[in-house]
């Protein structure tokens, strides 16, 4: 598939077809998700209306982790098959991924304050999520820290692979350690324990974020492809 998409013209053709679909899906899901999150779902019996923070907090956390996993897979493709498009993909996903991690941390803080009585606590779940955010920042700094962009690709890809260890730590931190953070209620071996009325807005908001993420990634990948082309043209010019 990577070989098929490797041709930049073909890549642009396919992605320009996907982009409007992703935007449309995202917009519809967002409208429906907001309706479900604020109007058509009940307040929590313990947490009251603060449960509505969940509908942005939890999908953002899922996206932050999924995005990192995709970047790490791209890093494998890049390191093993040397495919430049895989590297460009990982680079394109870094900023939206960092955005999702930051949203998770900040909305979590605004949820923790009224429910736990604190903005922040250095426990396993919160700290591992903060590390994920720093991994994104570290990746971006490393990938873009060289005069020739491609020189940063290898070390940055290696950082992504090392950082994968953080993903299971985030996921299972609520089981392995004592924490203020509540346990999983959706991705459980015995099925979701969350009420369907709350699961639905969660999933719809996740779909909205996924559509946004796909659109932004396509846009940023095409920008990076253009940027490489500019670099090539300029270096050719300086030689002639």
């Amino acid at each position: 598939m990577f070989d098929y998409l490797a041709n930049p013209t073909r890549f642009r053709k396919i992605t320009t077809a996907i982009l409007p679909v992703a935007v449309l899906v995202s917009a519809i899901a967002l409208a429906f998700g907001l309706y479900l999150a604020f109007l058509a779902s009940p307040a929590d019996y313990q947490q009251g209306e603060t449960v509505r923070i969940m509908y942005i907090h939890v999908p953002a956390a899922w996206m932050a982790m999924m995005c990192y996993l995709l970047m790490a897979l791209s890093a494998v493709f890049y390191l093993v098959w040397r495919h430049p498009l895989a590297d460009i993909g990982a680079r394109a996903m870094a900023l939206p991924g960092a955005g999702f991690a930051l949203i998770t941390l900040l909305t979590g803080s605004f949820w923790g304050r009224p429910m736990w009585g604190t903005w922040w606590v250095w426990d396993a779940r919160l700290t591992s999520m903060l590390i994920l955010f720093f991994l994104y920042l570290g990746y971006m700094a490393l990938a873009d820290g060289f005069e020739r962009a491609e020189r940063g690709s290898k070390p940055a890809s290696l950082l992504l692979l090392v950082g994968v260890i953080n993903l299971p730590i985030i996921k299972f931190s609520v089981d392995w350690w004592n924490t203020l953070h509540q346990g999983s209620s959706v991705l459980r071996l015995d099925g979701p324990s969350i009420d369907p009325a709350m699961l639905k807005p969660l999933l719809i908001m996740a779909l909205a974020m996924l559509g946004w993420f796909i659109a932004i990634t396509i846009l940023r990948m095409n920008t990076l492809i253009m940027r490489r082309r500019i670099t090539n043209l300029e270096s050719r010019k300086s030689w002639s």
Binding site: F38, L39, A43, G48, E49, T50, R52, I53, I56, H57, A60, L95, P96, G99, L102, I103, L106, T107, F110, W111, R113, P114, M209, W212, I216, L219, R220, N222, T223, M226, R227, R229, I230, L233, E234, K237
Partner: protein, 59 residues
């Protein structure tokens, strides 16, 4: 949900609305950054690929 209850969020308005405002602001900022970056890069590439067709920005 009654309208006033919607805005007060059962007394948690500050936390609920701040969360959503910050989250949306981050997504919008990244969208804006990506679009403007794409536009700048496209113009730069066009200028390199078709130097003669470059239009006078003041025209």
């Amino acid at each position: 949900m009654v309208m006033s209850h919607f805005f007060t969020m059962g007394g948690y308005a500050f936390y609920v609305w701040s969360s959503w405002a910050i989250g949306m602001a981050i997504l919008i900022a990244i969208t804006w950054h990506s679009i403007s970056h794409a536009r700048i890069t496209r113009n730069e590439l066009d200028a390199l690929e078709h130097p003669k067709q470059q239009r006078d920005p003041d025209a």
